[in-house]
């Protein structure tokens, strides 16, 4: 019985959709690909030109002050970064960092307003929540395909795929953080005659800050994981070393590049977390 239903050509539809979007919006995609691609390349190259020891010292200093003048994180950063340099992965690290930086920056800039929208309107919440679920559960690799169609290969499609995959947490946490602000504080704000935006900026966002920062932390970590995957579509960085090690079945180089990613992940994670604890 079931065999009698002809196969629905969903895949073809999506193919057509992606093709059409690529065509229609090429006037947007192409400049983005060029302009943003140039920005990414230049940033990474300039970063790679800075003498490594300066970056290492800077990172260590920031770590020291962010963690409340404790030495642990600073020491870890120094040792970890020297290790990466020693393994001749420094330039790759700079590229990976650049990608993560821009990808999470875009995620946060777009994600927070959506989170605010969601917190203010139940209708928006009901529409956006399933979209976020979809974005997060779809295997990350799948995003690479339309990303390539839209933006060719290289860093830009990597940032795009990462944006799709990593934005949901910051949206969700912003929504959650604002909705968690106690009724009494919201009432207090209203009772003093705040406008909507006064309430948002003077009460809700400051109250939700910790929660939003937890979302930012997750978003950054997800975009790091995505940036590694993005090496499959030609994004440079540590991920590319992992990928080529995989293709050549070289466990050693694979792990070394993997360590580099782990070190970067730990440093970024502790940095974003202590931003939260600060003040």
């Amino acid at each position: 019985m079931l065999d009698n239903i002809p196969q629905i050509p969903v895949a073809e539809w999506i193919d057509d959709g992606v093709d059409n979007i690529t065509d229609w919006f090429s006037f947007i995609f192409n400049p983005i690909q060029d302009g943003f691609g140039w920005l990414l390349d230049t940033s990474a190259e300039y970063l790679a030109m800075v003498p490594p020891f300066i970056i290492i010292i800077l990172v260590a200093l920031i770590a020291f002050f962010l963690s409340g003048k404790k030495f642990g994180l600073a020491a870890f950063s120094i040792v970890g970064l020297i290790f990466i340099h020693n393994q001749e992965l420094w330039e790759q690290l700079m590229f990976t960092f650049t990608l993560v930086f821009y990808a999470s920056l875009i995620s946060v800039i777009v994600g927070i307003p959506f989170g605010i929208l969601m917190s203010k309107s139940n209708i928006a919440q009901n529409i956006i929540t399933p979209v976020l679920d979809f974005m997060q559960t779809m295997p990350a690799f799948v995003y690479l395909i339309p990303a390539v169609a839209f933006f060719g290969i290289g860093m830009v499609p990597g940032v795009f795929a990462s944006f799709v995959f990593a934005t949901p947490p910051v949206v969700r946490f912003t929504n959650l953080g604002i909705r968690q602000v106690s009724d009494e504080l919201v009432e207090a704000s209203d009772a003093f005659g705040t406008t909507g935006s006064q309430k948002l900026f003077k009460v809700e966002l400051p109250m939700a800050k910790t929660t939003i920062m937890a979302g930012v932390n997750q978003t950054v970590m997800l975009s790091l994981s995505m940036v590694v995957i993005a090496s499959m579509i030609g994004a440079p960085g540590l991920g590319r070393d992992v990928l080529s090690a995989l293709q050549r079945a070289e466990a050693g180089t694979g792990f070394v590049a993997g360590f580099g990613i782990v070190i970067l992940a730990i440093i970024i994670d502790r940095f974003t977390q202590s931003l939260n604890k600060g003040k």
């Binding site: 009494e184 504080l185 207090a188 003093f192 005659g193 705040t194 406008t195 003077k202 400051p206």
Partner: protein, 398 residues
């Protein structure tokens, strides 16, 4: 007339039309909930609050007090009725006008303080002024004045979490006062405080009120509090106001069984303890002072005897004016030689009836002590007055 409320209702739920109709037909809050799923929050409240008056709204939990007070500044949208402030109807005005009223004419103090934890005490007190767009310098100054007024002048830089509950609520009060509103809405503002601090805050509110003459709508579920601070009291039950009157009227003339029940527990002699009626003691120091000082103090204060303590306020005894005079004439220098050591004492939790029995045949006031230290004195008049209050209520109950 600062506040005039007419037929003000709030029905929570979807079928408010049907619920209103059922209310008209005389159905109870419970029936309406069962039939329509709607909760009657406030049912046709009508009252007026005079300028400079402390208007207390009292009732059991769920009787609609919080809803009513939030209808006054429209934190809750009314289902029906009107709220007039200075002749403007709040219930129908547009958003901008409403904001203006909230910014300038009425402020609210909350049960659990509702301070902004990330703002310092000063920044909290500034909040209302900041919202109005006042310049930083001017609003800081006004906020500090308000904080000074509630006795927190030295804490402006602290965060709310660094303060005790009583102090936090002072910040809440200062935040409300900084706007210099005509009307203060206080929803169980002191209920979260422990009893002693609560009493202090009541006193302080009364002091402030004497100076400022605001119109205050004060919510409480505590009759004692209502009696202490209210010029008039409105009693609520199931969303309706069942009686409005002065404390005296409410106590002596309960409108119905519900009010009577509420009032019944206030047999003052059972509730009040030594602590409530004691006064600050006038004393002389055993080691430092002689009969001359004792006499001088008694003369200043118009006393016929005075208590004697040591340096750390441990009660030692008392001397009478007659004996001090004789001692002075015969050149005795030490109080210990003329002092009587048999002092009637009670502790601060002794109930008034028991104090009455002690003070009845005592020549001197009763001393209130705690671990041997003198805390206060009770004079006979205070006991009798307290007992008389209680008996009046009892007589009406019978």
């Amino acid at each position: 007339m600062p506040i005039k409320v007419e037929n003000l209702s709030k029905i929570f739920g979807k079928k408010t039309k049907e619920a209103t109709r059922l209310l008209d037909e005389g159905y109870s809050k419970e029936d309406i909930l069962e039939k329509t799923g709607c909760t009657v929050g406030v049912n046709r409240a009508t009252f007026e609050v005079e300028e400079g008056e402390v208007f207390v709204i009292m009732g059991l939990s769920g009787s609609g007090k919080s809803t009513l007070v939030r209808l006054l500044n429209r934190l809750i949208e009314p289902t029906e009725g009107s709220v007039e402030i200075d002749g403007q109807n709040l219930a129908t005005m547009n958003k901008e006008d409403l904001r203006e009223i909230r910014r300038t004419k009425m402020s609210m103090v909350f049960q659990r303080f509702a301070l902004f934890p990330f703002r310092s005490v000063r920044e909290n007190a500034e909040f209302g002024l900041e919202i109005q767009g006042m310049e930083k310098e001017e609003r800081s100054q006004k906020a500090e004045e308000a904080l000074e007024l509630v006795g927190l002048g030295g804490y402006v830089e602290q965060l709310p979490s660094q303060l005790s509950g009583g102090m936090q609520q002072r910040v809440g009060l200062a935040r409300a006062l900084a706007n210099d509103p005509e009307v203060l809405l206080m929803d169980e503002a002191f209920s979260a405080l422990d009893p002693l601090i609560r009493k202090d805050m009541q006193d302080e509110l009364l002091d402030l009120q004497e100076k400022m003459q605001k119109t205050i709508v004060f919510i409480t579920h505590d009759l004692d509090e209502a009696l202490r601070i209210g010029d008039r009291i409105a009693l609520m039950k199931d969303g309706s106001i069942v009686q409005i009157g002065s404390p005296e009227e409410i106590l002596t003339n309960p409108a119905n069984d519900y009010v009577e029940k509420f009032v019944e527990d206030v047999d003052r002699s059972k509730v009040l303890t030594a602590e409530h009626i004691m006064k600050r003691p006038e004393t002389v120091d055993y080691d430092k002072h002689g009969p001359r000082v004792a006499l001088e103090r008694m003369r200043e204060q118009g006393l016929s005897s005075i208590f004697v303590t040591d340096r750390s306020r441990n009660l030692k005894g008392y001397v009478t004016a007659d004996e001090a005079r004789q001692a002075r004439e015969s050149g005795i220098e030490k109080l210990s030689e003329i002092m009587k050591t048999e002092v009637p004492t009670v502790d601060k939790d002794t109930q008034i009836q028991d104090i009455f029995n002690i003070i009845h045949d005592s020549p001197v006031p009763v001393a209130v002590t705690e671990d041997g230290k003198l805390r206060g004195i009770i004079v006979r008049g205070a006991v009798i007055a307290a007992l008389a209050d209680g008996n009046e209520v009892d007589a009406d109950d019978a």
